[in-house]
């Protein structure tokens, strides 16, 4: 055992003299923004509790800042979507599609809500998503 430790130590010492670390990764710049951001799946209710729902949809990768937000505009009438919920996600620059998930909190139980979705760059700029107005009911 001691011999083994000694050999490993010698090998390691010689190794560190010879080895220099390779060039290392750097911060990556934002990806190019997509010309149009279109929803390919959803939006739909992923889960619903009395006071909270998670709304989920998939769009093409909007690009731009990796820090991104899914946004849900909602209200109790289809013509009044004045409330907003935002959830943070991080884009994967290598992915063609992006899944957005937004937690909508502070809801009333046994109520029907109407909503549409969008996504935003880190600075709050809209990705210009065209979304239908859907509805859900809290349990």
């Amino acid at each position: 055992m001691k011999n083994q430790i000694l050999i490993w130590t010698i090998v390691a010492c010689i190794g560190t003299l010879l080895i220099s670390n390779p060039a290392r990764a750097q911060l990556i710049p934002p990806a190019k923004k997509a010309a149009h951001v279109e929803i390919s799946q959803g939006p739909e209710i992923e889960s619903a509790k009395a006071n909270e729902v998670i709304i989920r949809w998939t769009s093409n990768n909007p690009g731009g800042s990796d820090e991104h937000f899914g946004v849900v505009h909602y209200g109790k009438s289809a013509t009044d979507l004045s409330q907003t919920a935002k959830s943070h996600i991080r884009l994967n620059q290598g992915h063609v599609e992006t899944v957005f998930r937004v937690r909508v909190e502070g809801l009333e139980a046994h109520k029907t809500y109407y909503y549409k979705v969008d996504s935003q760059q880190a600075d709050g700029t809209s990705d210009g998503v065209t979304s239908p107005v859907n509805k859900f009911a809290t349990p």
Partner: protein
């Protein structure tokens, strides 16, 4: 008569052997021969401190002594210094000299007031330079400091690749913070232009860690270190020429936070010139340790994954499946960048890459598996964390956390506000970002997350395994649980505290207690729709990121503790769960 002579000869021989054994076993002057008996502070309910905490702390100290002695040998093996050129440079030996000096400092137990812990006490090589005591990892989360049993609040982050984190900055293009060291970014690196070098300056004067009362105490202890000549060789012959007052020893033997200091953080009475000199020594302390951490001794790039990139290793089917999931369905590399995503195929209609598959070209030969950013993963509060229980003053009059269980760890947000438990934020322009940063913690590199001692070759039950702890509060106890959390956080989330999951559910399997910080939760994760088999494949891939495959990882063989075995990775550590509502003072 002849018999007596033989007996005497035998006795002399035995004494000689015993002396030789003792000499061999004793540290070569750098380490204290005996442990001082520190006063004990134990505000903890039964079960918070692990039963074997004392023997385990002693075990780690023995291991540290072995490595310190090895470093002394490496120092003595250096060629004679040749300081030459303009600016003067240690030609040939400079790199080795600073690396070895950093190692000597890192494993020096004298750098704490009671001379009973070194930096390495919470960062040993066989754990990827994270926490070396399985029972502590299983229970109290933070490690006991020099003044036992004060403890911090978070898990010990790995040293590996920490020097690669840039100086903390807010990137306006990306709308996010990048760089810094520590879970909450409080080591920005703004003065030394190295977040990692500054990181090494925090624990020595952290009241619950190494607990020096004054940064000048490091210069004071270095001025009596056996390796003082090496320090002077590198940083200048007069670098430690400081006139310390006669009471310095007494001051530096007293843990920081003691009421006797009255909140004074510079109790060592130095002249302005000597204070400046001591400050410079402290900078060199941080820089030397950082150089060691950046070297292949610590950040080795010697994993199976590195061999795979160099076409010298073929992944097993499970590892390859895990790698594809890491970059695809599981989306791990949105934050734990694998160096392959900086040249993506454009989104439709310009591009034509198949859905969900990463087609980015390899952009780095040494990806670091982090984006250097910060995220709130929504981890539950961990009532095991020793910090919650330090609500009463210790014998020196210091109280770590008067608020007890009401303390909420807001991570980066607290730092930006210069809040309790963090450090002063040196850039007031960042303060407006505090609210959107609450709950965010550093995205660690995934490298070496699975690194363990060779005799306990995995982090996963049934083992034999080495118990680690994951994320900032150690709530997660295995990589299986880690992946399962990302996969199902929002599927099994329940409005309960840890320890109070409803009957019919199993905590960490089919019940995730409420998030400690609900706001700003990252929704990239939480429902990944991975199968059980896919979770296991991801664990297999994470295990390929451990250094030590292409060449031995230095000092990995120094673990002398026991392995654990039995149980399952999914429920690993569940027998030590405690009910927050019943145990914690409110």
């Amino acid at each position: 008569m002849r018999q007596t002579r033989r007996l005497v000869a035998l006795l002399i021989l035995s004494a000689g052997i015993a002396a030789a054994v003792l000499l061999f076993a004793m540290p070569a002057g750098a380490q204290e021969a005996t442990d001082p008996a520190p006063p004990v502070y134990n505000p903890y309910p039964p079960g918070i401190l692990p039963a074997n905490v004392n023997s385990e702390l002693a075990r780690v100290l023995r291991e540290i002594a072995v490595i310190e002695n090895e470093a002394i040998g490496q120092w003595h093996a250096l060629p004679p210094p040749m300081l030459t050129g303009q600016p003067p440079t240690l030609q040939g030996s400079g790199y080795s000299a600073v690396r070895i000096l950093g190692k000597l400092m890192n494993f020096d137990r004298n750098m704490s007031p009671l001379k009973n812990i070194a930096c390495a006490s919470c960062h040993m090589p066989y754990a990827g330079f994270s926490g070396p005591i399985p029972s502590v990892n299983l229970t109290m989360v933070a490690y006991p400091g020099s003044f036992r049993f004060r403890a911090g609040k978070r898990t010990a982050q790995r040293y590996t690749y920490s020097p690669d984190f840039p100086v903390l900055n807010y990137n306006t293009e990306q709308g996010a913070f990048f760089g810094g060291n520590f879970w909450d970014a409080r080591s920005t690196g703004y003065l030394l232009q190295s977040a990692d070098a500054e990181q090494a300056q925090h624990p020595p004067v952290d009241t619950q860690e190494m607990a020096m009362p004054d940064t000048a105490c490091i210069a004071f202890r270095l001025s009596t270190a056996v390796y003082k000549p090496l320090f002077e060789e590198i940083w200048g012959v007069d670098s430690l020429n400081i006139s310390f007052p006669s009471n310095t020893e007494q001051i530096c033997d007293t843990p920081g936070g003691a009421a006797t200091f009255g909140g004074n953080t510079t109790p060592v009475g130095l002249s302005p010139v000597d204070r400046e000199r001591a400050n410079t020594v402290y900078d060199h302390w941080g820089q030397s340790i950082s150089f060691y951490e950046a070297s292949p001794d610590v950040s080795a790039f010697s994993s199976k994954f590195d061999a795979f990139l160099a076409n010298k290793y073929t992944f097993t089917a499970a590892e390859m499946a895990g790698y594809k999931l890491f970059r695809g369905k599981a989306n791990c590399n949105s934050c734990h960048l694998d160096g392959r995503s900086t040249a993506p195929t454009p989104p439709p209609p310009e591009g034509s890459a198949p859905g969900g598959e990463d087609t980015g070209a390899a952009a780095s030969t040494a990806p670091l598996f982090t984006c250097f950013g910060y995220a709130n993963l929504g981890l539950p509060k961990n009532p095991r964390d020793a910090f919650y229980y330090q609500t009463t003053p210790d014998s020196l009059g210091f109280t770590a956390n008067a608020g007890g269980f009401t303390y909420t760890d807001l991570g980066l947000g607290t730092f930006l506000r210069s809040g309790f438990g963090s450090a002063p934020n040196p850039n007031s322009a960042w303060k407006p970002f505090a609210e959107t940063s609450d709950g965010r913690m550093q995205t660690s590199t995934a490298r070496d997350v699975a690194l363990t001692p060779p005799q306990c070759p995995t982090t996963e039950a049934p083992g034999p395994y080495f118990q680690k702890e994951f994320f900032h509060n150690g709530y997660i106890k295995s990589l299986k649980q880690l992946v399962h959390f990302y996969n199902t956080r929002d599927v099994y989330r329940m409005p309960v505290e840890s320890g109070d999951c409803p009957s019919g559910t199993v905590e960490r399997v089919t019940c995730w207690p409420a998030a400690e910080v609900p706001q700003n939760q990252d929704m990239t994760i939480g429902k990944l729709d991975l199968t059980e088999a896919e979770e296991n494949q991801l664990v297999a891939f994470l295990e390929t990121l451990s250094d030590g495959f292409t060449r031995p990882y230095p000092d990995i063989n120094t673990y002398t503790g026991a392995c654990m075995s039995g149980g399952t990775a999914a429920t690993q550590g569940n027998s030590t769960l405690i009910s927050a509502s019943k145990m914690a003072p409110h």
